[in-house]
């Protein structure tokens, strides 16, 4: 990967950085016939968002190898706590690579990623959203015109799959408040926002397609 930094021994990260061991940089996948193909054969395999060009093959998950001494709110508008520990599998969005460094230690690659950019953690098979994010599954919408039926995979409706354990305290007072919604509720998120997809279309490890948004993006619930 680009800009690799060789180090002798893994130490303690600072400034909210978390060292995550990358086992799969996801630059290829195996077809059903056993052919190993490069990821760029699958259209927008790792972008999954409009206007994003696939110029690099980016991992979206890894195992936590080191955590900082403290988690601070530096640069972010909310106070939160560290909800991960060494050994957890964490996931982050594809847009989280702006300020990441790749450390190479004893032939293994570690990504230094900001704790605030982590979306969910997986521990002993249990998934928990981090940093006040809410896990959602998409609700498809069927549109009919004349004799044609089109099914939109994504719509403005989402089903809540998992709630965070801890809600960060925002420095913007209007974003704080009670959590009215529960797992299973069908909700509408803020009009100008879109949910972040947890995994790409290939090399998936989770059993369902998950999305997440910060909890204050949820506008209201609606009937199913």
């Amino acid at each position: 990967m680009r800009n690799e930094i060789p180090i002798d021994k893994l130490g303690i990260p600072v400034m909210n950085q978390v060292f995550v061991k990358i086992t799969d940089i996801e630059d290829s996948f195996k077809t059903k016939g056993g052919i190993i193909a490069k990821s760029d054969f699958v259209p927008e395999a790792w972008s999954n968002s409009e206007g994003h060009s696939v110029t690099d093959f980016i991992a979206r998950s890894g195992v936590v190898a080191a955590i900082p001494k403290i988690i601070t709110s530096h640069g972010y508008d909310y106070e939160t706590e560290c909800e991960i520990q060494v050994g957890d599998t964490v996931f982050w969005s594809i847009g989280s690579f702006e300020s990441c460094s790749v450390l190479v230690c004893s032939g293994e690659k570690f990504l230094s990623i900001n704790y605030h950019k982590l979306l969910i953690r997986e521990r002993d098979g249990d998934i928990l959203p981090l940093n006040g994010n809410v896990l959602l599954t998409s609700v498809s919408k069927v549109r009919t015109a004349l004799s044609y039926t089109v099914t939109d995979k994504l719509s403005n409706l989402w089903d809540i799959c998992q709630m965070p354990e801890k809600i960060p305290v925002s420095k913007i007072p209007r974003r704080n408040g009670e959590m009215y919604w529960e797992v299973g509720d069908r909700v509408i998120i803020s009009v100008n926002q879109s949910a972040m997809k947890i995994e790409g279309d290939i090399n998936k490890s989770l059993d369902k397609e998950l999305y997440c948004v910060p909890w204050h993006f949820i506008l209201c619930d609606t009937e199913k």
Partner: protein, 93 residues
Amino acid sequence: MKIRALLLAATRLESKQKEKVTLSGIIIPLGVAAHSNIPLKGRVEHIGPGITGAPMEVEVGENVYYKKDAIIVEVDGMDLLDQSMLIQIESEE
């Protein structure tokens, strides 16, 4: 030595940028601009007070790793850099 909030001053302990040894044993001297990704190791001598929401996470006496381009200026034989440019703190294990 008084330093601004999130800065620290470190005495360089070792610099692996001086040279590189190939598999066959050839020693290649590295230029200043070469291999800028190889981290430097330094011992923290002075630290700033930190700011609200971003305290100093390093303490005087700890060994830290940083890249050459993280150095703001050299003062009294020490490298002055921002805490955010650190790669890691050396652990005692």
